[in-house]
């Protein structure tokens, strides 16, 4: 099916346009083009992309990479109209985000303990 907004060719089962994100299903008529996804059924499937990038780039942890890949999968499944698949990928994205964040926090706590131990040993001298 062709998108009514930008003309891109989409899979027949697609609920949103791959190019512009327009709702292809029982969406609003052309006179009310929706560029936001918040009203769409699939929009409630979060992909945690921002969270994933933050843990990858700011905590610099490799566990953030699977989170980004799952975030891509969420949007890919949404584009193909597979809501259940998107929800399952969303769960995985969330899990990897928390694994990465947990590992980052663990490193910080471990470092804090090391510093604490150092300070203590100086005080005892």
């Amino acid at each position: 099916m062709f998108c009514t907004q930008c003309g891109a060719n989409n899979a027949d089962s697609a609920i949103i346009c791959v190019q512009c994100g327009r709702n292809l299903g029982t969406g609003p008529p052309l006179s009310a083009p929706s560029t936001t996804l918040s009203q769409m059924p699939g929009a409630s499937v979060p992909n945690y992309l921002v969270f994933a990038i933050i843990v990858t780039v700011l905590c610099c942890l490799p566990a953030g990479i699977p989170a980004i890949i799952y975030a891509a999968q969420v949007n890919g499944k949404l584009q193909a109209g597979d809501i259940a698949g998107a929800q399952s990928a969303s769960k995985n994205a969330k899990m990897w985000c928390w694994i990465a964040l947990g590992a980052g926090v663990a490193v910080c706590l471990f470092y804090g303990l090391l510093i604490g131990a150092k300070v203590m040993s100086h005080m005892h001298r």
């Binding site: 791959v18 996804l37 918040s38 992309l49 780039v57 610099c60 980004i68 910080c108």
Partner: protein, 140 residues
């Protein structure tokens, strides 16, 4: 879990403010209060995020160029990340997201590839890749 969720926003906001204040006051380049990157500590390699804390410190002090030289990727992604965080906060407070961008899956995969390639390239000690290392453009 429900009860914990109620505290997520105030606790998260407090942590963000505390870390921002610490980043503003202490320079990660010279201060020992920030933990070293475990990957760099163990292997000596730069990861895609290496220099991002130092870059944020420079940014808080208005030194965009110094921040760019420490980690250009962070600076490029920062507006997008800031918008995402702002959208999340607005959703928590007012129950409605800011207008959301829908990134096609291909773009996200390309971004993932870019992050990995950036991480590899900045470890290559040859011009021009060495410019991508933290502080690299300062010492060409």
């Amino acid at each position: 879990m429900r009860r914990l969720r109620k505290y997520a926003l105030p606790v998260g906001a407090f942590l963000v403010v505390a870390v921002t204040a610490a980043l503003d006051f202490f320079d990660p380049a010279t201060s020992g209060i920030f933990p070293p990157c475990p990957l760099q500590y163990l292997t000596g390699w730069y990861c895609p995020g290496c220099g991002s804390l130092r870059a944020l410190h420079q940014l808080l002090h208005g030194n965009l160029l110094a921040a760019w030289e420490l980690n250009p990727l962070t600076i490029v992604l920062l507006p997008f990340l800031a918008y995402g965080v702002a959208s999340y906060v607005v959703f928590k407070v007012r129950g409605q997201y800011l207008p959301r961008l829908f990134l096609p899956a291909l773009w996200i995969r390309a971004l993932c590839g870019l992050i990995i390639l950036f991480g590899i390239a900045r470890n290559i000690p040859v011009y021009p890749f060495e410019l991508l290392a933290p502080g690299g453009a300062l010492h060409p």
